[in-house]
C-alpha cells in the first residue's frame, strides 16, 4: 500500500470539523433541542416515577435494540463511504452511502411498525405524560432520520455523478456529520426512554 504517502488524518492537525462549518452550527442547534428534551424527560419523570416505570414496560425494547443496531451500522457505513471517497473511489462511496440509506429505511420501517402498534391500542399524545414524551421524542428523532436520508440521498446522487473526489469531498463529510448526529441522539434516547428505570 501507499506507504510513501504522508497522511496525517490520524494526527492532531485540524482546527475545523469535517464537512461544512454551517452544518456544524446546525448540528449544535439541533443537539441543543434534543438536550432540552432529554432533560425535560428526566425531570418530569422525577415527579411521575411510577407512571414512567409502568408504561416503559409497554414499549417494544426488541425493536428499539434493532433500531439501535441499524443506526450504528448505518453510521459505520457512512464512515466507510467517506473513507472510500478519500481514496477517490466513487463507486464504492456511492455503494456505502446506499447501504447506509437502506439501514435508515429499515429504521423507518421498524419504527413505523412500533407506532402502528401504539396507535392501534389507541395511544396518543394525551394518553399520559410518559407517552407524550415517548411519542414526541421518538417522532422528532424519526423526522431527523428521514431528513438525514434525504441529505445522504442528495450526496449519493452527486457522488454518482462524479461530483466529489479525493481532494474535494466536503459534501460527503457534511452529509456524514449530519447522519452521525442522528445516530448520536438515538444512542442516548434508547437507554433513556426504553431502559433506564
Amino acid at each position: 500500500m501507499q506507504e510513501q504517502v504522508i497522511d496525517t488524518s490520524d494526527v492532531l492537525h485540524d482546527r475545523h470539523p469535517p464537512g461544512d462549518l454551517a452544518i456544524w452550527i446546525f448540528i449544535l442547534a439541533e443537539l441543543s433541542v434534543f438536550a432540552v428534551f432529554f432533560a425535560a424527560y428526566a425531570f418530569t419523570r422525577m415527579n411521575n416515577v411510577e407512571l414512567f416505570n409502568e408504561f416503559q414496560q409497554h414499549l417494544d425494547r426488541q425493536s428499539a435494540l434493532l433500531n439501535t443496531l441499524t443506526l450504528i451500522t448505518s453510521s459505520y457505513f457512512v464512515v466507510r463511504a467517506v473513507a472510500a471517497i478519500k481514496e477517490n473511489n466513487h463507486k464504492l462511496c456511492v455503494n456505502w452511502l446506499l447501504a447506509a440509506i437502506s439501514m435508515g429505511f429499515l429504521f423507518v420501517v421498524i419504527k413505523s411498525a412500533e407506532y402502528a402498534h401504539h396507535f392501534g391500542e389507541g395511544i396518543n399524545l394525551s394518553t399520559n405524560t410518559f407517552y407524550m414524551f415517548y411519542l414526541s421524542l421518538t417522532f422528532f428523532h424519526f423526522m431527523h432520520v428521514i431528513m438525514g436520508m434525504v441529505i445522504l440521498g442528495a450526496v449519493a446522487i452527486k457522488a454518482k455523478n462524479g461530483g466529489y473526489s479525493d481532494i474535494e469531498h466536503t459534501g460527503v463529510e457534511t452529509g456524514a456529520s449530519y447522519w452521525h448526529m442522528v445516530d448520536l441522539v438515538w444512542l442516548i434516547l434508547f437507554p433513556l426512554v426504553y431502559v433506564m428505570r
Binding site: A22, V36, T129
Partner: protein, 463 residues
C-alpha cells in the same frame, strides 16, 4: 438600479414610510391614553387607536415587503419585472383599501363598520390584528395573489437564486396563512387555535424567511462576500427557523384549552427560537467583517447590523423571557408581552424594511450607490434615536410588566387589574417619553430623505 421596473418599489416604500408615521402617531396617542384614560375621548377611543396602531404596522410592513420584493426580485432574477403595471395598480388598490379601512375605524363605531361592510355574510371581524372588514381582507387576498403572480412569473423567466426562492417561499407562506383569517369557527378554542396560524406563523415563521432573504440580499450588495457563503447561511437559518418556529406556535396554546402536550412542545421548541436569530447576528457580523469592499452606503450597513442585533434581542431574548409555560402562566397578556412585541417588531421587521429602503432608495432616486454624506449622517442619527428609544420603551414596559405580574398575579394578596394599572403609571409615563424620542427619531429619518440632496454622493474614501 439595474432594471427599470425596479422603480415601482419606490411607491411602496414611500407609502410604507407614511403609514409608519401614522402608526407612531397613534402609538403616542395610545401611550398617553394609558395614563390619561379620556384623552381624545370620544373622538378616538382606545380600541380604535389600538386598531390603527397595529393594523397600520402590519400594512406598512406588508407594503415594504412588497416594495422590497419588487426591488430585489428583478435584480436577483436578472430580468425586468413581469408586469410593472400590475404592480402599480395593486399598489393603489392596496393603499385605497388601507386608507378606507383606517377611515372606517376612526369615523364610525366598530359595530357599524361591521354592519356597513356586510360582516354577517362572512363573519371575519372582531379578532385582534384581524379587525379589518371582510371586504378589506378579500382585497388583501387579491393584492397578495396578483403580487405573488407577478413576482413568481418574474422569477420563472429569470435566474433562480436561493435568495429569491426563499423570498418567494416566505411570501407564498404569508399569503397562504392569511387565508386562516377567513376561518372563524364558533368554538372559541378552535378560533384561537387557527387565529395563531395567521399571527404566529407569520411573524415567527414565514416572515423570518422574508427577513432572511432581504438581509442576505443587502449583505451581498454591501459586503461583496461570495453569494455561496451567504446562501449557505441562509439555508441553515431558515431550516432552524422552520423547525423551531412551526412547533413553537405551541407557546400560544398554553392556556386556550388545547391538550397538555402543547405545554411541552411549545416550551421546548419556542425556547429554541432565539437560535436562528442568534445565527443571523453571527452571520451578519461575520459577513461585514469578511467584506471585500467598502460600500459608500454606510447607513444601509448600519441598519443591516442593527436588524441582526435587535431582532435577536427583541424576538429572541425578550421572547424567551416569557416563553416557558411555567413562566408564561404568570406573565401571559401582561406588559411583558407588550415589551416583547414592541422590540421584536421593531428589531426584526421594521428594521429589515428600513435596511432595504436605506439600500434601495438612493438608487431608486437616481444616485449611483449611496446618498450624500450629510443625508447619511441624518439617517444614522435617526437609527440611533429610534433604536435607543425602542430599547427604553422595551425596558420601561418590562419594568411595568414585572411589577404588574407581581402585584396582580404573584403577590399573596393579588390586586385587581385597574388598581395595579394605577401603580405602574410611572412606567407608562416614562414609556411615553421614550415614545416621543422615537417620534423625534422618525422625524429625523424622514428629514434624511430631504437634506443633502444637492450634495455629492458619499464616497468610500470619506468614510
Amino acid at each position: 438600479m439595474t432594471y427599470k421596473s425596479q422603480s415601482v418599489a419606490k411607491l411602496y416604500f414611500i407609502a410604507a414610510i407614511a403609514l409608519f408615521a401614522a402608526q407612531i402617531l397613534f402609538g403616542l396617542i395610545l401611550g398617553l391614553q394609558y395614563v390619561m384614560g379620556d384623552f381624545l375621548f370620544p373622538h378616538i377611543p382606545f380600541n380604535a387607536a389600538r386598531m390603527v396602531h397595529t393594523n397600520a404596522l402590519i400594512v406598512w410592513l406588508l407594503m415594504a415587503f412588497m416594495g422590497a420584493a419588487y426591488y430585489l426580485v428583478p435584480e436577483e432574477s436578472e430580468t425586468e419585472l413581469f408586469s410593472p403595471l400590475l404592480a402599480i395598480l395593486m399598489f393603489w388598490i392596496f393603499l385605497v383599501a388601507a386608507g378606507l379601512t383606517v377611515a372606517g375605524y376612526l369615523l364610525v363605531p366598530y359595530s357599524t363598520l361591521a354592519e356597513l361592510t356586510g360582516n354577517d355574510l362572512l363573519p371575519t371581524m372582531g379578532r385582534e390584528f384581524l379587525e379589518q372588514p371582510t371586504i378589506t381582507k378579500l382585497g388583501i387576498v387579491v393584492v397578495a395573489l396578483a403580487f405573488l403572480f407577478n413576482i413568481g412569473m418574474t422569477i420563472l423567466k429569470g435566474r433562480k437564486t436561493v435568495i429569491n426562492l426563499v423570498l418567494l417561499l416566505g411570501l407564498t407562506g404569508l399569503a397562504v396563512f392569511f387565508l386562516f383569517a377567513f376561518y372563524n369557527p364558533t368554538n372559541v378554542v378552535l378560533d384561537k387555535y387557527f387565529w395563531w396560524w395567521v399571527v404566529h406563523l407569520w411573524v415567527e415563521g414565514v416572515w423570518e424567511l422574508i427577513l432572511g432573504s432581504i438581509l442576505a440580499f443587502v449583505l451581498i450588495k454591501v459586503t461583496g462576500v461570495d453569494r455561496e457563503v451567504i446562501e449557505k447561511w441562509l439555508y441553515i437559518i431558515i431550516a432552524m427557523t422552520l423547525i423551531t418556529g412551526i412547533i413553537g406556535t405551541g407557546h400560544h396554546y398554553f392556556w386556550i384549552g388545547t391538550p397538555e402536550y402543547w405545554q411541552w412542545w411549545g416550551s421546548i421548541f419556542s425556547a429554541m427560537e432565539p437560535i436562528p436569530f442568534f445565527m443571523m447576528t453571527v452571520f451578519a457580523f461575520n459577513m461585514v467583517n469578511k467584506r471585500r469592499r467598502e460600500h459608500p452606503n454606510r447607513a444601509a450597513t448600519l441598519w443591516a447590523l442593527g436588524t441582526a442585533v435587535m431582532a435577536f434581542l427583541g424576538a429572541g431574548v425578550w421572547g424567551f423571557l416569557h416563553t416557558l409555560s411555567p413562566v408564561n402562566y404568570y406573565t401571559h397578556g401582561s406588559q411583558i408581552t407588550a415589551a416583547h412585541g414592541h422590540m421584536a417588531f421593531y428589531g426584526a421587521y421594521v428594521m429589515i424594511n428600513l435596511t432595504i429602503i436605506s439600500y434601495a432608495m438612493p438608487l431608486l432616486r437616481g444616485r449611483n450607490a449611496a446618498n450624500s454624506n450629510k443625508s447619511q449622517i441624518w439617517e444614522m442619527w435617526s437609527f440611533w434615536l429610534m433604536t435607543i428609544a425602542m430599547v427604553f420603551i422595551t425596558l420601561f414596559l418590562t419594568g411595568a410588566g414585572i411589577l404588574q405580574v407581581y402585584l396582580q398575579r404573584v403577590a399573596e394578596n393579588p390586586q385587581p387589574f385597574m388598581v395595579v394599572q394605577d401603580q405602574i403609571a410611572l412606567f407608562y409615563w416614562l414609556r411615553e417619553i421614550a415614545g416621543l424620542m422615537f417620534f423625534g427619531g422618525l422625524v429625523v429619518y424622514i428629514a434624511s430623505f430631504f437634506v443633502g440632496q444637492d450634495e455629492p454622493e458619499a464616497t468610500v474614501a470619506q468614510s
